[in-house]
Symmetry: C2
Amino acid sequence: LLAGIGDDCAIWQPRAGHQTILTCDWFLEDTHFRVDRHPPESIGWKCLARAVSDIAAMGGEPRCFLLSLALPQSRTKTWMDKFLSGLRHASRKLHCPAAGGDTTRDSRVLISITVVGECRHGAAVPRSGAKPGDAIFVTGRLGEAEYGFRLLGQMSSARATALADDPRLRKHLHPEPRIPIGAWLAKRRLATAMMDLSDGLSTDLPRLCNASSAGAEIHAGSLPCVQIAAKGAKHPFDPLALALHGGDDYELLFTVAQRNAKRIPSAIGGVQLTRIGEITASRKIVLLGDDGSPRPLSNQGWDPFR
Amino acid sequence: LLAGIGDDCAIWQPRAGHQTILTCDWFLEDTHFRVDRHPPESIGWKCLARAVSDIAAMGGEPRCFLLSLALPQSRTKTWMDKFLSGLRHASRKLHCPAAGGDTTRDSRVLISITVVGECRHGAAVPRSGAKPGDAIFVTGRLGEAEYGFRLLGQMSSARATALADDPRLRKHLHPEPRIPIGAWLAKRRLATAMMDLSDGLSTDLPRLCNASSAGAEIHAGSLPCVQIAAKGAKHPFDPLALALHGGDDYELLFTVAQRNAKRIPSAIGGVQLTRIGEITASRKIVLLGDDGSPRPLSNQGWDPFR
Protein backbone atom coordinates (compact mmCIF):
# COMPACT_ATOMS: atom_id res chain seq x y z
CA LEU A 1 0.00 0.00 0.00
CA LEU A 2 1.72 3.18 -1.21
CA ALA A 3 -0.88 5.85 -0.51
CA GLY A 4 -4.12 5.63 1.36
CA ILE A 5 -6.83 7.70 2.98
CA GLY A 6 -6.90 11.39 2.06
CA ASP A 7 -6.38 11.36 -1.70
CA ASP A 8 -8.88 10.67 -4.48
CA CYS A 9 -7.75 7.05 -4.55
CA ALA A 10 -5.50 4.57 -2.79
CA ILE A 11 -2.43 3.35 -4.68
CA TRP A 12 -1.40 -0.22 -4.30
CA GLN A 13 1.55 -2.19 -5.67
CA PRO A 14 0.61 -5.70 -6.80
CA ARG A 15 3.15 -8.48 -6.30
CA ALA A 16 4.86 -9.97 -9.33
CA GLY A 17 3.56 -13.42 -10.27
CA HIS A 18 0.27 -12.81 -8.46
CA GLN A 19 -3.30 -12.17 -9.46
CA THR A 20 -5.55 -9.66 -7.74
CA ILE A 21 -8.76 -10.91 -6.10
CA LEU A 22 -11.62 -8.48 -5.53
CA THR A 23 -14.78 -8.77 -3.47
CA CYS A 24 -17.39 -6.44 -2.01
CA ASP A 25 -20.02 -7.01 0.66
CA TRP A 26 -23.00 -5.18 2.08
CA PHE A 27 -23.42 -4.99 5.86
CA LEU A 28 -26.60 -3.03 6.58
CA GLU A 29 -28.39 -2.06 9.76
CA ASP A 30 -31.65 -4.04 10.18
CA THR A 31 -30.73 -6.41 7.33
CA HIS A 32 -27.41 -7.84 8.56
CA PHE A 33 -27.22 -6.50 12.11
CA ARG A 34 -29.18 -4.50 14.69
CA VAL A 35 -27.49 -1.59 16.42
CA ASP A 36 -29.59 -2.12 19.58
CA ARG A 37 -28.43 -5.72 19.89
CA HIS A 38 -25.03 -6.19 18.29
CA PRO A 39 -22.05 -4.63 20.07
CA PRO A 40 -20.41 -1.99 17.83
CA GLU A 41 -17.02 -3.75 18.16
CA SER A 42 -18.61 -6.88 16.71
CA ILE A 43 -20.09 -4.93 13.78
CA GLY A 44 -16.64 -3.45 13.08
CA TRP A 45 -14.93 -6.83 13.27
CA LYS A 46 -17.55 -8.70 11.32
CA CYS A 47 -17.94 -6.29 8.39
CA LEU A 48 -14.30 -6.87 7.50
CA ALA A 49 -14.07 -10.54 8.51
CA ARG A 50 -17.02 -11.63 6.35
CA ALA A 51 -15.64 -9.83 3.28
CA VAL A 52 -12.16 -11.28 3.88
CA SER A 53 -13.81 -14.72 4.05
CA ASP A 54 -14.56 -14.41 0.30
CA ILE A 55 -10.82 -13.93 -0.31
CA ALA A 56 -10.04 -17.00 1.84
CA ALA A 57 -12.61 -18.92 -0.22
CA MET A 58 -10.54 -18.35 -3.36
CA GLY A 59 -7.39 -19.55 -1.60
CA GLY A 60 -6.09 -15.98 -1.53
CA GLU A 61 -4.68 -13.69 1.13
CA PRO A 62 -6.13 -10.24 1.94
CA ARG A 63 -3.99 -7.18 1.19
CA CYS A 64 -6.13 -4.11 1.91
CA PHE A 65 -9.73 -2.92 2.16
CA LEU A 66 -11.89 0.09 1.31
CA LEU A 67 -14.74 1.09 3.59
CA SER A 68 -17.89 2.93 2.52
CA LEU A 69 -19.56 4.00 5.75
CA ALA A 70 -22.78 5.97 6.29
CA LEU A 71 -23.83 6.90 9.83
CA PRO A 72 -26.56 8.79 11.65
CA GLN A 73 -25.39 11.73 13.78
CA SER A 74 -26.20 9.71 16.91
CA ARG A 75 -23.59 7.08 16.01
CA THR A 76 -20.67 9.38 15.30
CA LYS A 77 -19.09 9.47 18.79
CA THR A 78 -18.96 6.52 21.24
CA TRP A 79 -20.57 4.11 18.84
CA MET A 80 -18.17 4.92 16.01
CA ASP A 81 -15.13 4.73 18.30
CA LYS A 82 -16.13 1.21 19.33
CA PHE A 83 -16.99 0.25 15.76
CA LEU A 84 -13.56 1.45 14.59
CA SER A 85 -11.89 -0.38 17.46
CA GLY A 86 -13.45 -3.66 16.30
CA LEU A 87 -12.56 -2.88 12.69
CA ARG A 88 -8.94 -2.09 13.58
CA HIS A 89 -8.74 -5.30 15.60
CA ALA A 90 -9.88 -7.32 12.57
CA SER A 91 -7.58 -5.33 10.27
CA ARG A 92 -4.52 -6.19 12.41
CA LYS A 93 -5.51 -9.80 13.02
CA LEU A 94 -6.27 -10.45 9.33
CA HIS A 95 -3.26 -8.46 8.02
CA CYS A 96 -5.57 -6.30 5.93
CA PRO A 97 -4.93 -2.54 6.30
CA ALA A 98 -7.41 0.19 5.37
CA ALA A 99 -6.65 1.73 1.96
CA GLY A 100 -9.41 4.30 1.77
CA GLY A 101 -13.10 4.82 1.74
CA ASP A 102 -16.06 7.14 1.55
CA THR A 103 -18.06 8.48 4.49
CA THR A 104 -21.48 10.09 4.51
CA ARG A 105 -24.48 10.75 6.70
CA ASP A 106 -27.57 8.54 6.71
CA SER A 107 -30.53 7.67 8.92
CA ARG A 108 -29.13 4.13 9.37
CA VAL A 109 -25.67 2.57 9.64
CA LEU A 110 -24.78 1.44 6.12
CA ILE A 111 -21.55 -0.40 5.40
CA SER A 112 -20.14 -1.57 2.11
CA ILE A 113 -16.67 -3.04 2.22
CA THR A 114 -14.34 -3.99 -0.62
CA VAL A 115 -11.38 -6.29 0.01
CA VAL A 116 -8.42 -6.64 -2.31
CA GLY A 117 -6.47 -9.87 -2.02
CA GLU A 118 -3.87 -11.78 -3.96
CA CYS A 119 -3.06 -15.32 -4.92
CA ARG A 120 -0.26 -16.85 -6.96
CA HIS A 121 -0.91 -16.77 -10.69
CA GLY A 122 -3.44 -19.47 -11.58
CA ALA A 123 -3.82 -20.75 -8.00
CA ALA A 124 -7.25 -19.25 -7.23
CA VAL A 125 -9.86 -21.92 -6.50
CA PRO A 126 -13.22 -21.23 -8.21
CA ARG A 127 -16.63 -22.66 -7.32
CA SER A 128 -16.85 -24.40 -10.65
CA GLY A 129 -14.19 -27.12 -10.55
CA ALA A 130 -15.94 -29.94 -8.62
CA LYS A 131 -16.19 -33.29 -10.45
CA PRO A 132 -18.44 -36.29 -9.73
CA GLY A 133 -16.69 -38.52 -7.19
CA ASP A 134 -14.87 -35.63 -5.47
CA ALA A 135 -15.02 -35.70 -1.68
CA ILE A 136 -16.77 -32.75 0.01
CA PHE A 137 -15.18 -31.19 3.10
CA VAL A 138 -16.01 -28.37 5.49
CA THR A 139 -13.90 -26.53 8.04
CA GLY A 140 -14.93 -26.04 11.68
CA ARG A 141 -18.45 -26.69 12.98
CA LEU A 142 -21.60 -25.70 11.12
CA GLY A 143 -24.50 -23.86 12.72
CA GLU A 144 -22.49 -22.27 15.51
CA ALA A 145 -23.16 -18.73 14.28
CA GLU A 146 -26.90 -19.35 13.95
CA TYR A 147 -26.88 -20.92 17.42
CA GLY A 148 -25.21 -17.80 18.83
CA PHE A 149 -27.63 -15.58 16.93
CA ARG A 150 -30.62 -17.36 18.47
CA LEU A 151 -29.14 -17.21 21.98
CA LEU A 152 -28.53 -13.50 21.46
CA GLY A 153 -32.18 -13.06 20.45
CA GLN A 154 -33.24 -14.48 23.82
CA MET A 155 -31.05 -12.07 25.81
CA SER A 156 -31.62 -8.52 26.92
CA SER A 157 -29.59 -5.99 24.96
CA ALA A 158 -27.45 -5.18 28.02
CA ARG A 159 -26.70 -8.85 28.64
CA ALA A 160 -25.86 -9.35 24.96
CA THR A 161 -23.21 -6.63 25.16
CA ALA A 162 -21.78 -8.03 28.39
CA LEU A 163 -21.62 -11.50 26.83
CA ALA A 164 -19.52 -10.51 23.81
CA ASP A 165 -16.83 -12.95 24.96
CA ASP A 166 -19.22 -15.84 25.59
CA PRO A 167 -17.85 -18.75 23.55
CA ARG A 168 -21.39 -19.63 22.40
CA LEU A 169 -21.72 -16.17 20.83
CA ARG A 170 -18.16 -15.89 19.49
CA LYS A 171 -18.85 -17.40 16.08
CA HIS A 172 -21.81 -15.07 15.51
CA LEU A 173 -20.11 -11.92 16.79
CA HIS A 174 -16.47 -12.54 15.79
CA PRO A 175 -16.28 -15.02 12.90
CA GLU A 176 -12.75 -15.90 11.78
CA PRO A 177 -12.20 -16.24 8.05
CA ARG A 178 -10.26 -19.42 7.28
CA ILE A 179 -7.40 -17.72 5.43
CA PRO A 180 -4.63 -20.19 6.37
CA ILE A 181 -6.71 -23.23 5.39
CA GLY A 182 -7.78 -21.71 2.07
CA ALA A 183 -4.19 -20.79 1.27
CA TRP A 184 -2.92 -24.24 2.33
CA LEU A 185 -5.36 -25.92 -0.05
CA ALA A 186 -4.66 -23.52 -2.94
CA LYS A 187 -0.89 -23.83 -2.59
CA ARG A 188 -1.05 -27.63 -2.87
CA ARG A 189 -3.77 -27.44 -5.55
CA LEU A 190 -5.81 -29.94 -3.53
CA ALA A 191 -9.21 -28.21 -3.71
CA THR A 192 -11.06 -28.64 -7.02
CA ALA A 193 -13.74 -26.13 -5.94
CA MET A 194 -14.17 -23.91 -2.90
CA MET A 195 -16.50 -21.27 -1.44
CA ASP A 196 -17.29 -19.90 1.98
CA LEU A 197 -20.45 -20.79 3.89
CA SER A 198 -22.15 -17.45 4.43
CA ASP A 199 -25.80 -18.31 3.88
CA GLY A 200 -25.97 -21.90 5.21
CA LEU A 201 -24.95 -25.26 3.70
CA SER A 202 -28.38 -25.94 2.16
CA THR A 203 -28.18 -22.62 0.25
CA ASP A 204 -24.46 -22.50 -0.53
CA LEU A 205 -23.84 -26.14 -1.55
CA PRO A 206 -26.33 -25.86 -4.47
CA ARG A 207 -24.39 -22.78 -5.64
CA LEU A 208 -21.12 -24.72 -5.75
CA CYS A 209 -22.89 -27.66 -7.44
CA ASN A 210 -24.59 -25.40 -10.01
CA ALA A 211 -21.30 -23.70 -10.84
CA SER A 212 -19.73 -27.15 -11.27
CA SER A 213 -22.74 -28.63 -13.18
CA ALA A 214 -22.95 -31.40 -10.60
CA GLY A 215 -24.94 -32.61 -7.57
CA ALA A 216 -24.00 -33.83 -4.10
CA GLU A 217 -24.74 -36.42 -1.44
CA ILE A 218 -24.27 -35.29 2.15
CA HIS A 219 -24.06 -37.71 5.08
CA ALA A 220 -26.16 -36.25 7.91
CA GLY A 221 -24.21 -38.27 10.47
CA SER A 222 -20.90 -36.78 9.31
CA LEU A 223 -21.85 -33.13 9.73
CA PRO A 224 -19.77 -31.35 12.38
CA CYS A 225 -22.63 -29.88 14.44
CA VAL A 226 -22.78 -27.49 17.38
CA GLN A 227 -21.67 -29.27 20.55
CA ILE A 228 -24.39 -28.60 23.05
CA ALA A 229 -23.43 -28.89 26.70
CA ALA A 230 -26.33 -30.98 27.97
CA LYS A 231 -26.78 -29.81 31.55
CA GLY A 232 -29.84 -31.91 32.09
CA ALA A 233 -32.02 -29.51 30.11
CA LYS A 234 -33.18 -30.47 26.63
CA HIS A 235 -31.79 -28.08 24.07
CA PRO A 236 -34.35 -26.04 22.13
CA PHE A 237 -32.46 -26.02 18.82
CA ASP A 238 -31.90 -29.00 16.51
CA PRO A 239 -28.12 -29.23 15.85
CA LEU A 240 -28.66 -30.91 12.46
CA ALA A 241 -31.04 -28.16 11.28
CA LEU A 242 -28.56 -25.53 12.52
CA ALA A 243 -25.73 -27.22 10.58
CA LEU A 244 -27.78 -27.55 7.38
CA HIS A 245 -29.48 -24.15 7.29
CA GLY A 246 -27.67 -21.80 9.67
CA GLY A 247 -25.95 -18.84 8.01
CA ASP A 248 -22.98 -16.64 8.90
CA ASP A 249 -20.52 -19.42 9.78
CA TYR A 250 -17.84 -18.31 7.26
CA GLU A 251 -16.41 -21.80 7.23
CA LEU A 252 -14.98 -23.15 3.97
CA LEU A 253 -16.79 -25.69 1.80
CA PHE A 254 -14.42 -27.42 -0.61
CA THR A 255 -14.09 -30.47 -2.81
CA VAL A 256 -11.09 -32.75 -3.30
CA ALA A 257 -10.45 -35.41 -5.93
CA GLN A 258 -11.09 -38.88 -4.46
CA ARG A 259 -7.41 -39.87 -4.87
CA ASN A 260 -6.30 -36.82 -2.83
CA ALA A 261 -8.92 -37.04 -0.08
CA LYS A 262 -6.54 -38.87 2.27
CA ARG A 263 -4.07 -35.97 1.99
CA ILE A 264 -6.51 -33.70 3.83
CA PRO A 265 -5.51 -33.65 7.51
CA SER A 266 -8.09 -33.84 10.29
CA ALA A 267 -7.23 -30.28 11.39
CA ILE A 268 -5.17 -27.26 10.29
CA GLY A 269 -4.18 -24.66 12.88
CA GLY A 270 -6.61 -26.11 15.40
CA VAL A 271 -9.59 -25.96 13.03
CA GLN A 272 -11.04 -29.35 12.16
CA LEU A 273 -11.61 -30.48 8.57
CA THR A 274 -14.50 -32.90 8.09
CA ARG A 275 -15.48 -34.98 5.09
CA ILE A 276 -19.26 -34.65 4.77
CA GLY A 277 -20.13 -36.24 1.42
CA GLU A 278 -19.42 -36.64 -2.29
CA ILE A 279 -20.08 -34.79 -5.51
CA THR A 280 -22.43 -36.69 -7.83
CA ALA A 281 -23.30 -36.47 -11.52
CA SER A 282 -27.05 -36.28 -10.81
CA ARG A 283 -27.51 -32.49 -10.30
CA LYS A 284 -29.51 -33.27 -7.13
CA ILE A 285 -28.60 -32.31 -3.58
CA VAL A 286 -29.36 -35.31 -1.38
CA LEU A 287 -29.10 -35.78 2.38
CA LEU A 288 -28.38 -39.36 3.46
CA GLY A 289 -29.76 -40.26 6.91
CA ASP A 290 -27.91 -42.44 9.42
CA ASP A 291 -29.64 -45.49 7.92
CA GLY A 292 -28.54 -44.47 4.44
CA SER A 293 -32.03 -43.34 3.39
CA PRO A 294 -31.89 -40.39 0.97
CA ARG A 295 -34.04 -37.25 1.06
CA PRO A 296 -33.74 -34.05 -0.97
CA LEU A 297 -31.93 -31.28 0.87
CA SER A 298 -34.13 -28.22 0.47
CA ASN A 299 -32.65 -24.76 0.34
CA GLN A 300 -33.57 -23.15 3.68
CA GLY A 301 -30.57 -20.90 4.33
CA TRP A 302 -30.41 -17.11 4.26
CA ASP A 303 -31.78 -15.31 1.20
CA PRO A 304 -32.29 -11.54 1.28
CA PHE A 305 -34.83 -11.85 -1.55
CA ARG A 306 -37.05 -14.39 0.19
CA LEU B 1 -10.35 -9.52 -15.92
CA LEU B 2 -10.06 -13.31 -15.66
CA ALA B 3 -13.17 -14.25 -13.70
CA GLY B 4 -16.09 -12.13 -12.67
CA ILE B 5 -19.64 -12.30 -11.40
CA GLY B 6 -20.76 -15.64 -9.94
CA ASP B 7 -17.79 -16.68 -7.80
CA ASP B 8 -16.81 -15.52 -4.32
CA CYS B 9 -14.47 -12.94 -5.85
CA ALA B 10 -13.38 -11.49 -9.16
CA ILE B 11 -9.86 -12.29 -10.35
CA TRP B 12 -7.93 -9.63 -12.13
CA GLN B 13 -4.49 -9.61 -13.73
CA PRO B 14 -2.53 -6.40 -13.06
CA ARG B 15 -0.27 -5.10 -15.81
CA ALA B 16 3.48 -5.29 -15.34
CA GLY B 17 5.08 -1.92 -14.53
CA HIS B 18 1.77 -0.52 -13.27
CA GLN B 19 0.33 0.38 -9.93
CA THR B 20 -3.25 -0.35 -8.91
CA ILE B 21 -5.52 2.57 -8.01
CA LEU B 22 -8.55 1.95 -5.82
CA THR B 23 -11.54 4.13 -5.02
CA CYS B 24 -15.04 3.67 -3.61
CA ASP B 25 -18.04 5.97 -3.65
CA TRP B 26 -21.48 6.09 -2.08
CA PHE B 27 -24.49 6.95 -4.26
CA LEU B 28 -27.59 6.91 -2.05
CA GLU B 29 -31.25 7.60 -2.68
CA ASP B 30 -32.34 10.91 -1.08
CA THR B 31 -28.71 11.90 -0.35
CA HIS B 32 -27.18 11.84 -3.84
CA PHE B 33 -30.24 11.37 -6.06
CA ARG B 34 -34.02 11.12 -5.96
CA VAL B 35 -35.74 8.22 -7.67
CA ASP B 36 -38.83 10.32 -8.41
CA ARG B 37 -36.78 12.94 -10.22
CA HIS B 38 -33.62 11.40 -11.68
CA PRO B 39 -34.05 9.07 -14.65
CA PRO B 40 -32.83 5.56 -13.73
CA GLU B 41 -30.48 5.55 -16.76
CA SER B 42 -28.81 8.68 -15.35
CA ILE B 43 -28.42 7.05 -11.91
CA GLY B 44 -26.79 4.02 -13.56
CA TRP B 45 -24.46 6.17 -15.66
CA LYS B 46 -23.58 8.57 -12.90
CA CYS B 47 -22.82 6.06 -10.14
CA LEU B 48 -19.99 4.66 -12.26
CA ALA B 49 -18.89 7.91 -13.89
CA ARG B 50 -18.38 9.75 -10.60
CA ALA B 51 -16.31 6.90 -9.14
CA VAL B 52 -14.24 6.65 -12.34
CA SER B 53 -13.63 10.40 -12.03
CA ASP B 54 -11.50 9.68 -8.94
CA ILE B 55 -9.33 7.38 -11.07
CA ALA B 56 -9.01 10.11 -13.73
CA ALA B 57 -8.00 12.53 -10.95
CA MET B 58 -4.94 10.38 -10.20
CA GLY B 59 -3.98 10.31 -13.87
CA GLY B 60 -5.02 6.67 -14.08
CA GLU B 61 -7.24 4.62 -16.35
CA PRO B 62 -10.16 2.53 -15.10
CA ARG B 63 -9.94 -1.27 -15.46
CA CYS B 64 -13.02 -2.73 -13.73
CA PHE B 65 -15.63 -2.02 -11.09
CA LEU B 66 -17.56 -3.78 -8.33
CA LEU B 67 -21.15 -2.80 -7.59
CA SER B 68 -22.90 -3.14 -4.25
CA LEU B 69 -26.59 -2.58 -4.97
CA ALA B 70 -29.57 -2.64 -2.60
CA LEU B 71 -33.06 -2.19 -4.03
CA PRO B 72 -36.69 -2.15 -2.88
CA GLN B 73 -38.95 -4.75 -4.49
CA SER B 74 -40.67 -1.96 -6.46
CA ARG B 75 -37.44 -1.11 -8.27
CA THR B 76 -36.47 -4.61 -9.37
CA LYS B 77 -38.17 -4.67 -12.79
CA THR B 78 -38.47 -1.68 -15.18
CA TRP B 79 -36.48 0.63 -12.95
CA MET B 80 -33.58 -1.81 -12.60
CA ASP B 81 -33.53 -2.57 -16.34
CA LYS B 82 -33.15 1.14 -17.09
CA PHE B 83 -30.61 1.59 -14.30
CA LEU B 84 -28.53 -1.29 -15.70
CA SER B 85 -28.86 0.12 -19.21
CA GLY B 86 -27.32 3.42 -18.04
CA LEU B 87 -24.64 1.56 -16.09
CA ARG B 88 -23.74 -0.63 -19.10
CA HIS B 89 -23.58 2.47 -21.28
CA ALA B 90 -21.07 4.07 -18.89
CA SER B 91 -19.16 0.80 -18.55
CA ARG B 92 -18.67 0.57 -22.34
CA LYS B 93 -17.94 4.25 -22.85
CA LEU B 94 -15.42 4.37 -19.99
CA HIS B 95 -13.84 0.97 -20.82
CA CYS B 96 -14.57 -0.25 -17.30
CA PRO B 97 -16.24 -3.70 -17.19
CA ALA B 98 -18.16 -5.08 -14.21
CA ALA B 99 -16.05 -7.48 -12.14
CA GLY B 100 -18.55 -8.43 -9.48
CA GLY B 101 -20.71 -7.15 -6.70
CA ASP B 102 -23.21 -7.82 -3.98
CA THR B 103 -26.98 -7.40 -4.22
CA THR B 104 -29.54 -7.19 -1.45
CA ARG B 105 -32.99 -5.86 -0.63
CA ASP B 106 -33.58 -2.52 1.08
CA SER B 107 -36.29 0.08 1.51
CA ARG B 108 -34.24 2.56 -0.56
CA VAL B 109 -31.89 2.34 -3.54
CA LEU B 110 -28.38 2.13 -2.07
CA ILE B 111 -25.32 2.04 -4.29
CA SER B 112 -21.68 1.68 -3.35
CA ILE B 113 -19.25 1.34 -6.21
CA THR B 114 -15.57 0.45 -6.18
CA VAL B 115 -13.40 1.17 -9.21
CA VAL B 116 -10.03 -0.42 -9.84
CA GLY B 117 -7.70 1.52 -12.12
CA GLU B 118 -4.07 1.52 -13.12
CA CYS B 119 -1.31 3.95 -13.82
CA ARG B 120 2.32 3.52 -14.78
CA HIS B 121 4.60 2.93 -11.82
CA GLY B 122 5.16 6.25 -10.01
CA ALA B 123 3.02 8.29 -12.41
CA ALA B 124 -0.03 8.77 -10.15
CA VAL B 125 -0.69 12.44 -9.38
CA PRO B 126 -1.56 13.06 -5.69
CA ARG B 127 -3.31 16.07 -4.18
CA SER B 128 -0.25 16.94 -2.18
CA GLY B 129 2.35 18.06 -4.73
CA ALA B 130 1.37 21.70 -5.39
CA LYS B 131 4.10 24.29 -4.73
CA PRO B 132 3.79 28.09 -4.26
CA GLY B 133 3.94 29.70 -7.69
CA ASP B 134 2.32 26.75 -9.49
CA ALA B 135 -0.41 27.71 -11.93
CA ILE B 136 -3.91 26.36 -11.19
CA PHE B 137 -6.01 24.95 -14.03
CA VAL B 138 -9.45 23.44 -14.41
CA THR B 139 -11.02 21.43 -17.23
CA GLY B 140 -14.38 22.28 -18.81
CA ARG B 141 -16.85 24.74 -17.34
CA LEU B 142 -17.64 24.97 -13.63
CA GLY B 143 -21.16 25.11 -12.23
CA GLU B 144 -22.85 23.39 -15.18
CA ALA B 145 -23.95 20.41 -13.10
CA GLU B 146 -25.39 22.62 -10.35
CA TYR B 147 -27.13 24.69 -13.04
CA GLY B 148 -28.71 21.55 -14.48
CA PHE B 149 -29.66 20.36 -10.98
CA ARG B 150 -31.50 23.62 -10.29
CA LEU B 151 -33.28 23.56 -13.65
CA LEU B 152 -34.32 19.97 -12.92
CA GLY B 153 -35.73 21.09 -9.56
CA GLN B 154 -38.03 23.52 -11.38
CA MET B 155 -39.42 20.86 -13.71
CA SER B 156 -42.15 18.31 -13.26
CA SER B 157 -40.85 14.78 -12.85
CA ALA B 158 -42.31 13.74 -16.22
CA ARG B 159 -40.65 16.66 -17.99
CA ALA B 160 -37.35 15.92 -16.23
CA THR B 161 -37.36 12.38 -17.64
CA ALA B 162 -38.27 13.60 -21.13
CA LEU B 163 -35.47 16.17 -20.97
CA ALA B 164 -32.67 13.70 -20.25
CA ASP B 165 -30.94 14.80 -23.46
CA ASP B 166 -31.30 18.53 -22.81
CA PRO B 167 -27.77 19.93 -23.07
CA ARG B 168 -28.40 22.09 -19.99
CA LEU B 169 -29.06 18.95 -17.93
CA ARG B 170 -26.37 16.77 -19.50
CA LYS B 171 -23.59 17.63 -17.06
CA HIS B 172 -25.83 16.91 -14.07
CA LEU B 173 -27.32 13.69 -15.46
CA HIS B 174 -24.40 12.32 -17.50
CA PRO B 175 -21.09 13.73 -16.27
CA GLU B 176 -18.03 12.60 -18.21
CA PRO B 177 -14.92 11.82 -16.18
CA ARG B 178 -11.87 13.46 -17.75
CA ILE B 179 -9.85 10.27 -18.17
CA PRO B 180 -7.91 11.30 -21.31
CA ILE B 181 -6.89 14.66 -19.83
CA GLY B 182 -5.79 13.15 -16.52
CA ALA B 183 -3.77 10.49 -18.34
CA TRP B 184 -2.26 13.09 -20.71
CA LEU B 185 -1.06 15.17 -17.75
CA ALA B 186 0.25 12.16 -15.79
CA LYS B 187 2.12 10.74 -18.77
CA ARG B 188 4.03 14.02 -19.30
CA ARG B 189 4.41 14.53 -15.54
CA LEU B 190 3.06 18.06 -15.99
CA ALA B 191 0.60 18.13 -13.07
CA THR B 192 2.17 18.65 -9.65
CA ALA B 193 -1.17 17.99 -7.90
CA MET B 194 -4.59 16.94 -9.14
CA MET B 195 -8.09 16.09 -7.89
CA ASP B 196 -11.58 16.03 -9.31
CA LEU B 197 -14.18 18.67 -8.53
CA SER B 198 -17.01 16.71 -6.95
CA ASP B 199 -18.14 19.05 -4.18
CA GLY B 200 -17.51 22.48 -5.72
CA LEU B 201 -14.33 24.55 -6.20
CA SER B 202 -14.72 26.42 -2.87
CA THR B 203 -14.79 23.06 -1.02
CA ASP B 204 -12.34 21.05 -3.11
CA LEU B 205 -9.60 23.66 -3.65
CA PRO B 206 -8.96 23.95 0.12
CA ARG B 207 -8.54 20.16 0.20
CA LEU B 208 -5.84 20.27 -2.47
CA CYS B 209 -4.19 23.25 -0.73
CA ASN B 210 -4.31 21.55 2.69
CA ALA B 211 -2.79 18.37 1.28
CA SER B 212 -0.06 20.51 -0.31
CA SER B 213 0.43 22.77 2.78
CA ALA B 214 -0.23 25.81 0.60
CA GLY B 215 -2.86 28.42 -0.28
CA ALA B 216 -4.29 29.78 -3.53
CA GLU B 217 -5.37 32.91 -5.35
CA ILE B 218 -8.20 32.50 -7.82
CA HIS B 219 -9.05 35.10 -10.48
CA ALA B 220 -12.83 35.46 -10.57
CA GLY B 221 -12.70 36.82 -14.10
CA SER B 222 -10.83 33.75 -15.36
CA LEU B 223 -13.32 31.15 -14.15
CA PRO B 224 -14.96 29.23 -17.01
CA CYS B 225 -18.60 29.76 -16.04
CA VAL B 226 -21.89 28.40 -17.36
CA GLN B 227 -22.75 30.06 -20.67
CA ILE B 228 -26.28 31.25 -20.28
CA ALA B 229 -28.29 31.71 -23.45
CA ALA B 230 -29.85 35.09 -22.72
CA LYS B 231 -33.17 34.95 -24.56
CA GLY B 232 -34.24 38.30 -23.26
CA ALA B 233 -35.01 36.89 -19.81
CA LYS B 234 -32.67 37.63 -16.93
CA HIS B 235 -31.16 34.44 -15.60
CA PRO B 236 -32.04 33.55 -12.02
CA PHE B 237 -28.69 31.99 -11.13
CA ASP B 238 -25.37 33.75 -10.65
CA PRO B 239 -22.81 32.06 -12.94
CA LEU B 240 -19.88 33.01 -10.65
CA ALA B 241 -21.57 31.51 -7.57
CA LEU B 242 -22.37 28.38 -9.58
CA ALA B 243 -18.72 28.08 -10.67
CA LEU B 244 -17.38 28.62 -7.14
CA HIS B 245 -19.77 26.48 -5.13
CA GLY B 246 -21.62 24.15 -7.48
CA GLY B 247 -20.90 20.45 -6.96
CA ASP B 248 -21.01 17.37 -9.17
CA ASP B 249 -19.04 18.79 -12.13
CA TYR B 250 -16.36 16.05 -12.09
CA GLU B 251 -13.96 18.37 -13.86
CA LEU B 252 -10.26 18.16 -12.99
CA LEU B 253 -8.50 20.71 -10.81
CA PHE B 254 -4.72 20.56 -11.27
CA THR B 255 -1.56 22.55 -10.70
CA VAL B 256 1.44 22.98 -13.01
CA ALA B 257 4.89 24.40 -12.28
CA GLN B 258 5.12 27.98 -13.58
CA ARG B 259 7.79 27.02 -16.14
CA ASN B 260 5.51 24.34 -17.61
CA ALA B 261 2.27 26.35 -17.64
CA LYS B 262 2.70 27.30 -21.30
CA ARG B 263 2.86 23.60 -22.24
CA ILE B 264 -0.80 23.20 -21.23
CA PRO B 265 -2.91 23.49 -24.40
CA SER B 266 -6.17 25.44 -24.46
CA ALA B 267 -8.15 22.24 -25.01
CA ILE B 268 -7.69 18.47 -25.09
CA GLY B 269 -10.21 16.33 -26.95
CA GLY B 270 -12.62 19.25 -27.24
CA VAL B 271 -12.56 20.01 -23.49
CA GLN B 272 -11.14 23.41 -22.62
CA LEU B 273 -8.34 23.86 -20.07
CA THR B 274 -8.39 27.17 -18.23
CA ARG B 275 -5.82 28.77 -15.99
CA ILE B 276 -7.73 30.18 -13.00
CA GLY B 277 -5.05 31.23 -10.50
CA GLU B 278 -1.86 30.44 -8.60
CA ILE B 279 -0.78 28.45 -5.59
CA THR B 280 0.53 30.68 -2.77
CA ALA B 281 2.59 30.10 0.35
CA SER B 282 0.03 31.85 2.58
CA ARG B 283 -2.33 28.92 3.40
CA LYS B 284 -5.27 31.20 2.54
CA ILE B 285 -7.78 30.72 -0.27
CA VAL B 286 -8.35 34.13 -1.85
CA LEU B 287 -10.68 35.22 -4.66
CA LEU B 288 -9.40 38.18 -6.69
CA GLY B 289 -12.16 40.35 -8.21
CA ASP B 290 -11.97 41.88 -11.69
CA ASP B 291 -10.37 44.98 -10.13
CA GLY B 292 -7.79 42.85 -8.34
CA SER B 293 -9.42 43.29 -4.92
CA PRO B 294 -8.99 40.18 -2.74
CA ARG B 295 -11.65 38.52 -0.59
CA PRO B 296 -11.51 35.20 1.26
CA LEU B 297 -13.17 32.37 -0.66
CA SER B 298 -15.48 30.70 1.83
CA ASN B 299 -16.21 26.99 1.63
CA GLN B 300 -19.82 26.76 0.40
CA GLY B 301 -19.75 23.57 -1.66
CA TRP B 302 -21.39 20.25 -0.87
CA ASP B 303 -20.76 18.69 2.53
CA PRO B 304 -22.85 15.71 3.69
CA PHE B 305 -22.03 16.54 7.32
CA ARG B 306 -23.24 20.13 7.17
